[in-house]
Amino acid sequence: MDNLLDRALGLDGRGDRWPLLGKLVLVEDCVETGGAFVVHHVIKRFLSPQPSGVTNHSLILVAFSQPLSHYDRVLRKLGCNLVAQRDNNRFLFFDMLNLRFPDKHDAKTGSGILVSLFEKIYNAVRALSAEKSWVTIVIDDIALMEVVANGSSDSVLDFLHYCRTLMSEFDCSVVALNHGDIYLSMEKPMLMLNLEYLSNILVRAEPLATGSAVDVHGQLMVLNKGENDRQGTAGSKIHNFHFRVKENSVDFFYPGGRG
């Protein structure tokens, strides 16, 4: 049941705790190879019924790039009914897609939108953890959040900092999608460098060097920085493998190891 991605993310443990709690997972993709499927995978794993079933799992999806109908259809094929989860109050959808186009005279500037968004998230997380629920905040995606913030990457970074502080206050984790290739041409992409530094797990989706293929859709690099244990040694691990996205699952396999 466990696949390579689960193992790389540390989701294969049999512990009671959701392994990503208190962690920031950053997914980076590029135009040629989308990384949204990684986000879908984590959502599915997080919301699927747990064997222990002691604690509730609640997910907050901050969607800048797609409407709810898209996520609903995709996740339903993966075996996870978002609408039902929403009715159970275990799934909150923050629709940021339909934000109004800002006028010149708009009082509410880009960073103002992010401030009010964070307030909403904060209140939701606080309410959910009062019910002894573990929370995952999913952000899809950061590049569009920058557009909403009118190019102010500082306010985006602030926003993510605040989300990170939630992790120490409550039992929650953050999963964010970003497009790495946007920043390649910049001299000092502070946003991306900061994010990569802050993240506990970095997942990078890339096309194959040999071009696109029908059987192999791309490769994933998962850098799991691990936990700082008492000796202070960070057991950071890099996993590399190929993947093939399907409607109801994703195949992960080592290069050439597809049987």
Partner: protein, 364 residues
């Protein structure tokens, strides 16, 4: 050269196909999407059916050649033939004048069949796999005869201007992006235009098309306000997602900063790019068959992925744009020239007699 699989997943809802087929020019695709035709039958086939409703199509221009206009023209003409409302924005002073250059549809039945059958079959050389193609062609013809009135995709004669009757309707809006100081007015026009196509569950009354040419060209005043432009496209994208329309937008990537251009590419659902080919490139001429007939190259970087997470992997990403009989726009796979050059095969008429007859003798 098969079209990408359009098989729906086992969990996708069965959309009653009658709902879509009642509306002219719309056909249902996988995952509950509906397709509009791009106006180029080869491109429709490559993309697995056409442009899905609610998607943003971005065309990256080549500064050396206006091939993106060919895509826009066919897209717009096809919409007008299907009586779909159109909004056209361009940096030209008089955007309405562009409508005069739209190509005219060929009265399908006679011309098409004439076209395909006019060339005599090659003497002698007939291989088994070619017979299969004949069957396909017959089916196509019978299909087009059945619903002759509204074909999903017409063939357009680039030399004939579109008849007046299609242009006289009240449903064409033209905007010059050069006049407006910022994008708010264009945004409002798009918003009011798209309001009539707002998607309600299940039923669809009509579809609309928006074509925005040379967005953020330097003659527009907002040229350097990158975040303003991005914000506009983000907003446009969110509006289009909830309406039964398709936006096609072309922009010159060479004039923009690379990161800005990448952001635009990420926002696109379907991403295409056109390239000119130099006139006298001897090396390329040796490398590719049918080089003389090519007028440009079309690359497909991304195919819309709505309601699904599975990327569509095409067998080839780059196609040559050719004019068949100086009239019809066709896309062909690039073929490496064999020792003795034979012509490439068209996506539509792949392997049909008319094409292979043009080439020289085949080496076996």
């Amino acid at each position: 050269m098969a079209t990408p699989k359009t098989r729906a997943g086992s969990f996708s809802r069965n959309v009653p196909s009658t709902a879509a087929s009642q509306v002219p020019g719309v056909k249902s695709g996988p995952n509950g999407t509906l397709f509009l035709s791009s106006g180029i039958s080869d491109l429709d086939k490559i993309l697995g059916g056409g442009f899905p409703l609610g998607s943003l199509v971005v065309v990256m221009e080549d500064p050396e050649a206006p091939h993106h206009m060919l895509l826009l023209r066919n897209f717009m003409s096809q919409g007008l033939v299907h009586n779909q409302p159109l909004l056209y924005a361009s940096p030209a002073k008089d955007p309405r004048g562009f409508l005069g250059t739209l190509p005219s549809p060929v009265s399908s039945k006679d011309d098409k069949s004439l076209d395909r059958d006019s060339d005599p079959p090659p003497p002698g050389l007939r291989i088994a796999w070619q017979y299969k193609k004949y069957f396909g062609e017959n089916q196509q013809n019978s299909n087009s005869q059945r619903d002759n009135k509204f074909e999903f995709c017409n063939e357009f004669d680039l030399r004939k201007p579109l008849q007046r009757q299609f242009l006289s309707g009240q449903h064409i809006e033209c905007i010059s992006t050069q006049d407006s100081p910022d994008l708010a007015s264009l945004h409002d026009r798009c918003a009011t235009f798209l309001k009539q196509f707002f998607r309600t569950d299940g039923n669809i009354s009509g579809a609309g098309r928006i074509a925005i040419q040379s967005f953020c060209a330097p003659q527009c005043t907002y040229f350097d306000q990158e975040w303003h432009v991005l914000s506009f496209i983000r907003s446009l994208r969110s509006m289009i997602r909830s309406s039964n329309a398709v936006v096609i937008l072309s922009f010159p990537p060479s004039l923009l900063s690379p990161s800005f251009s990448k952001r635009l590419q990420h926002m696109a659902d379907t991403l295409l790019s056109v390239k000119a080919i130099p006139d006298e490139d001897k090396d390329l001429a040796k490398l590719l068959t049918g080089y003389q007939d090519m007028i440009g190259l079309l690359s497909i970087h991304k195919v819309a992925r709505i309601n699904t997470q599975v990327p569509i992997i095409l067998e080839a990403a780059t196609f040559s744009i050719k004019l068949q009989k100086r009239k019809f726009l066709v896309l062909e796979c690039l073929n490496q020239a064999p020792v003795d050059g034979s012509s490439g095969t068209s996506y539509a008429t792949s392997g049909s007699c008319s094409v292979s007859s043009k080439g020289g003798s085949l080496d076996f």
